[in-house]
Each structure stands twice: as structure tokens, then as C-alpha cells.
Symmetry: C2
Subunit: 415 residues, 2 copies
């Protein structure tokens, strides 16, 4: 069998049929499936039938040994890390690099527009749909970003499914002190759809990764047009639409900055104060407490829903309005607190700050030991609580202090 | 002791100090506290000390027996129903009508700007903070609205706490067929704060109750200014900010209509098609299935969270993106469906439509028997599922059909 053959591969319970591609590793077979996606299959125990020879005319130059993109000492080095999701499939699709590292050539074959903007390094941390993202993978990713920066990357782009990007970006915001930009990006449209947004998002993310803002950010379309990407702080961003290209928004404010695109020119600008390149020393605190629940309160909900937090280290409540649940719940919440659960109140309004001192219910919750989550997004509060319980001497106190832009200072005027 | 005396009242563990007001019931003492709020205190077992006589000069005309606002046959009749919350305290404050009916004079004493706009009827269904609202009270309220319309009200205004107003408005949207407007309103600011929004909201709501749109609507400030109230469809509205006066928004679209206010003139206008006055016969279907849960999925959540739906009639999932949960959950969800639980998928993105056919995870969920919640708000979907399970022969099918504007037709262009 040779690259270009149409093959059927059987391994474990799975059967794959498609065209064999050149592989970047000796361990994997890479097969381009009929749908256009590539899959990497461990050679071990794989049964391969060649169905048809030379279906594709694959040249020698297509294998990884043959060519190298030249390193340009005048350009910064950007590391691209893939975790899976729609945008990563752009790269995986062409390279088959599902479980392997990929190189500059793979990147440029996938998104030719990235040429001339940076020297590229690439690595794959996971290949999962982001609804399957777990705190374990957050830790692997933080470690990979740390290693890439330590190895000299001037900026890092993380390709991530959009469903839970805000959670992962929050996790890395708390885990990492970074002297360079760490930019999450993704795609709201499958790469096989004509209106796919992945090329523009990838280009803008690389530009953001070269910028002077040393923060964990999310870079996605700012509008339905292909003209500007917004740069959102990782802890304040939210996917606010199921399908629009401009689904990601900074809650309650304008984004941190933007990347102009179009006309071939790109320009990164920031509208707010941010951590600057080189300001912080690279550091990592990847530990997480996994026993943390998030519970959204709705009318008619039984108090027994709180049982899910029994014996757990932390509970984030997504209350109503200024941060309320049924006032009958206060006693049970007090018991959880007394038993050692850190309980944090946030609001399902999403925008605005919780304040427990205005109404009786809130005051009862404060008396019960509930910690006010200020204006933290509920999802961000859950991630922060997981982090604070594993890293802080006083997690309850830490929840009220801004660590990574997740709490807006009261003195910042409304924009 | 007489109305106008400064008194100290002790009852149970509580002590109240303030000025005794005329009470509309023989059962209650009504005391105006120093902060400006009135409290109704059961006379039974209450100890009263008169601290000072005739602090306030309360005239005979202030008692309910003495005067009647004249009925104007040229004006429509609007029924005001109080359920509690900040706005209701405006009325309760003056009348002490915590547990009683109130009359036109009470209304006009509370909000003089309402004079000349309608003939008023009033009744109290509950006096609770809206985080304590329950499906039982939704049913009482629907019954009260039904009775008021049956008794000849040309429109109904429901005063409601803002925390869970959208849930109650949704419940009445499904329970009632109404030939007249049913308008929910509330206040985002305590009545004792100078910027309280309750007068404008009350006036605009009365005007909306006189309009030709026979729908269940929410009428609240459209901006931070006191110039326009927005009219939102009850099933599409969401409290999107913890404290702003314009916290309520129609998700993903412009509101159904608006009420101009300011300069003394009010004007109600609608921008979209709506059910018209008299189009539908008055009808009520107040039955609800109480065994329905709403569960918000977040990364790191254990599958055992689904246990809360074990043996329950319904479960609404608030998934990520187009409607996903961790793909490992599909089997357990399939078991719930097989055991008779109707499982509906919505999205925590809030805006946009779920679509399970794009990615593997969604297709697995469809195979497991999950019903797509279209673009329903998760909270609305929960209320609808409670209603459908009690009223529909095929609840799963009903969940995909628009009943009260809760699902936006795909053919409606984006506004």
C-alpha cells in the first residue's frame, strides 16, 4: 500500500474507508475519509485492504520529509496548539495529524494566508469536540502552553471547539501567568461550508499572538462580516449565539481589543488597559479541585437539588436577579457551608453584579455563609472555584478578589 | 390609638415602630416604618404602644369607607393584580393591602399619574418576592386573571417581582387564551430610591393593557432613560442584567412594541404581528406537571447529575452551543427517555436555535430520544414542558410546535 491508494482499514470495532495519505509519524496510518475529514489510525493491530491503487496522485513533495518552510529570523514564532473542534479540522484535515505533532508546513498547507506572518510550531493536545472537554485536558493544555512559551514561542494560538471555549480560556487564565499572548480561536462553521470563518479567525489570532497584550484572550469574528475580529478577555467572554459567526461577546462591555482584517492588511488595537508583553514571569499553577458543582435555580425547583453538593468542596449557584434562590433554601445552604462546602452566588441574568444586601433573601444567604460572586460569569466562577480550592489558602476570600480580569472593578465606568 | 399616631408594635419576635395608617381590613394593623415602607401586621397577639399621638394628620377621607373614585364610562377598565415584589410595594406601602383586595382609590393614591387613564380594579394574589414564586402561585394568578377578564376587565396589569417575571409570564402565556392584553410589570429599584422606575412602568403598563395586542407581555424600561418602555412577548423575554432599569430584553430580536412616555403623552405602538384584541375566546388550562427539572451542563460535570431526573416526567437540558452535553451522557439520557422522561434540549448560549444534526454528539442525542427545543429560552422550555406534560396528548411533539410565540418561525427574517 502507498499514499494515494484507496483502502479499507479495520481496527478495534471501527472500519474506515478512504484514501491513504502520507503520515507525519511512523506510528499512524492517515486516511482521508469520503466526507473530507482525515483520521489517524494506530498501525498496530490495524488490518488494511487496498481497494484501488493510485486514486490520488500524491507527490513526493507532500510527505513531511521532503520540504521545510524556511525559518525567518525577522519574524516572531507563534505556537499553534490544537485541541480539536471545527477549526482544528482545517489543519487535521490536510495533515492527518490527529495524534501527532504538526509542523509549519502543515499549518501553511491548511491556511496559506498565515504565510509570512510568523514562524510556526504546532502541537496537538487533544482532538475532541469541546462539549467533551474536561478539566484534565485543561491541565494538559496549560502544560503545553507553558512548555511552548518556555521553548521560546512569542505567542500561542489555541484552536478549540467553540462550545466550551470560554471555560477553557477561563481555566488557563487562572492557571497561567504568561509573558506573551495566549489566544483561543475556533470556528462557528464547519470547514466544509462555504461561509467558514476559520481562515480569518486563524489569521487574526496569529496577529493577536504577536501583539503586546500578555493575556489569555479569545479571538473570534466581531460581526457577521469578514472585517474585524474581537479580542475578548478569557474570563469575561461568552458564546451568546448557537450559530452566528459573531457569537462570542464580552459580557456587559466592549471587547478588550480588535484585529482589523480585510484588504490584506491586519491591525491589532486595544481599547483597555491590559497586561503587557514581558510584564509577568511565566508560571503555572495547574491544580484543580474537581468536586465543584454548578446549579442553576429555576422556579418550582425542589430544595433536594442541593443534594448534588453534599460532601463536595464547592458549589456555584446561578441564582435569579441580584443573586437569589427560594428563601426556604437558606437553611440547607447553611448546612452545606457548615459541612465545608464553599458556596458562591452568581446570577443567571449574566450581566450585572450580584448584591445580597438589598433584599431579605440575599441577607439570609449571606448569613448562611454564601460568598458573593460579584459580576463573575457563572461558568467562570465555577472554573475559578475549582482553581481557588486547589491553590488558595482562603478560597472563599479569593472568590471575591479579581485574579484574571474575571471581576470588573466597581470604579470602571460603564462603557 | 388612632391612625396618625406614632406606635411601637410587638408581635412574635418582631418589633415595628412607625406611624399607624388607616387599614383596609379589620384584621391588620398597618404601620408606616421610618424607611418609608408600610408593613401589615396581624392584630392578633400584637402589643401596641402609642408613643406619640397625631404625628400625621390623617383625614377621614383617607379611609377606605369614605370616598370612591368616580367610574368613567368613557374609559376602559384595567385590573391591577399584585403578586408582590418591589413595584407592588408602591401600592402596599400606601394601603397596607398586604392580604386584601385594593380599590381604585388605593391605586391612585399610590400612583397618582394613573388617574384619568382607566377605571381600576385591584386584587392581591400573593405578596412574595419573586424568587419565592412557585407553580402553585402561577395557577392562582392565571385563575385571577381569568376571573378579572371574565368580569369585564379590558386589560390586566400584573405587578410582579423582576427576578422570575419571565417564568410567570411564560406560564400564563401557555395557560391562558386571552382576548385582552395581560401586561406584567415590575420595578428594578426599590421604591425608596430616588431613581425608582415604578411610576413610569405602571403608567406604560396600563396604556399597554388598553392596547389592541391580546398577548401576555412584559412592559419595562427600554433604556436607562425615562422615555420609552418596551413591550416584550412573555415567552421571549429575559432579565439580562441584575440591576439596570432596562434589564429586560426580547432575546435576539427587537421587542414586540413600545410605549412612549415623557412629555405627558403616551403612545403604544407595535412593530410585529400579534394576537389582536377579541381575536381569541377567553380560556384557561392551568394544569401543570410539577415533576420537571432543568439542568445546565458545564465541563467537568459528572453524569450522575442526570440522576435528578430519575423517575421524573420531564427534563430540560441547557446544553452548550447547538445543544450538546458530553457525548458520554447519551446512553444515560437514552435510559431516561426509555423510562418515560421527556428530555428537551436547549442552549445556554441563550440566543440562536439548537440543531442536533450538525455534529456527532447531537446525532447521538437525537438517537437517544432527545427532543430539540428549537430556539426556546431554557426557562421558557421548562415552563412549557410542565404545561405540555399536563395538557397535551403528545408532549414531545408539542415541544417543537410554537404555541405562544416561544419558538421563532425559521422564516422570520433576522431583525
Amino acid at each position: 500500500m502507498n499514499p494515494g491508494d484507496r483502502v479499507r482499514v479495520e481496527r478495534a470495532d471501527q472500519t474506515y474507508e478512504g484514501v491513504l495519505l502520507p503520515s507525519s509519524t511512523s506510528q499512524n496510518l492517515v486516511v482521508k475519509l469520503q466526507g473530507g475529514y482525515n483520521v489517524g489510525i494506530d498501525r498496530e493491530d490495524a488490518d488494511v485492504d487496498v481497494l484501488e491503487s493510485d486514486v490520488y496522485d500524491i507527490e513526493e513533495g507532500d510527505t513531511e520529509e521532503s520540504s521545510e518552510v524556511e525559518f525567518d529570523p525577522d519574524l516572531p514564532t507563534v505556537s499553534l496548539i490544537s485541541t480539536g473542534g471545527t477549526i482544528a479540522s482545517t489543519v487535521d484535515y490536510r495533515t492527518g495529524a490527529v495524534t501527532a505533532q504538526f509542523d509549519a508546513e502543515d499549518v501553511l498547507r491548511a491556511v496559506p494566508d498565515l504565510a509570512g506572518r510568523a514562524n510556526y510550531r504546532g502541537r496537538v493536545v487533544a482532538n475532541i469536540l469541546s462539549e467533551n472537554m474536561t478539566p484534565d485536558v485543561w491541565q494538559d493544555l496549560a502544560q503545553a502552553v507553558y512548555e511552548e512559551i518556555e521553548a521560546g514561542a512569542d505567542g500561542v494560538v489555541v484552536m478549540h471547539g467553540t462550545d466550551t471555549m470560554q471555560f477553557t480560556a477561563s481555566a488557563l487564565s487562572f492557571m497561567l501567568d504568561t509573558p506573551v499572548p495566549v489566544v483561543f480561536t475556533g470556528s462557528q462553521r464547519s470547514a466544509d461550508r462555504p461561509s467558514s470563518d476559520n481562515v480569518m479567525n486563524a489569521v487574526c489570532s496569529v496577529e493577536a499572538a504577536k501583539s503586546d497584550a500578555a493575556e489569555v484572550m479569545v479571538c473570534m469574528h466581531a460581526s457577521e462580516s469578514d472585517d474585524v475580529c474581537a479580542l475578548h478577555r478569557g474570563t469575561r467572554v461568552r458564546k451568546n449565539h448557537t450559530s452566528r459567526r459573531d457569537a462570542f461577546e464580552t459580557v456587559g462591555r466592549k471587547p478588550l481589543g480588535e484585529v482589523e482584517y480585510g484588504g490584506g492588511e491586519t491591525d491589532v488595537s486595544f481599547r483597555r488597559a491590559h497586561d503587557e508583553r514581558g510584564e509577568k514571569e511565566l508560571d503555572i499553577s495547574p491544580e484543580l479541585e474537581s468536586e465543584v458543582e454548578l446549579l442553576k435555580f429555576t422556579p418550582g425547583m425542589d430544595e433536594s437539588a442541593l443534594d448534588v453538593a453534599e460532601g463536595k468542596a464547592g458549589l456555584v449557584l446561578e441564582g435569579t436577579g441580584l443573586g437569589h434562590v427560594h428563601s426556604d433554601w437558606a437553611d440547607r445552604i447553611g448546612e452545606l457551608v457548615d459541612d465545608g462546602t464553599t458556596v458562591v452566588m452568581t446570577s443567571q441574568c449574566i450581566d450585572g453584579r450580584v448584591c445580597a444586601r438589598v433584599y431579605d433573601t440575599g441577607r439570609d444567604l449571606l448569613d448562611a455563609g454564601v460568598v458573593e460572586g460579584e459580576d463573575m460569569l457563572p461558568g467562570t466562577a465555577k472554573v475559578k472555584l475549582m482553581w481557588a480550592l486547589a491553590n488558595s489558602a482562603d478560597p472563599a476570600d479569593e472568590m471575591g478578589e479579581p485574579l484574571a480580569g474575571e471581576i470588573t472593578e466597581r470604579s470602571v465606568p460603564w462603557e
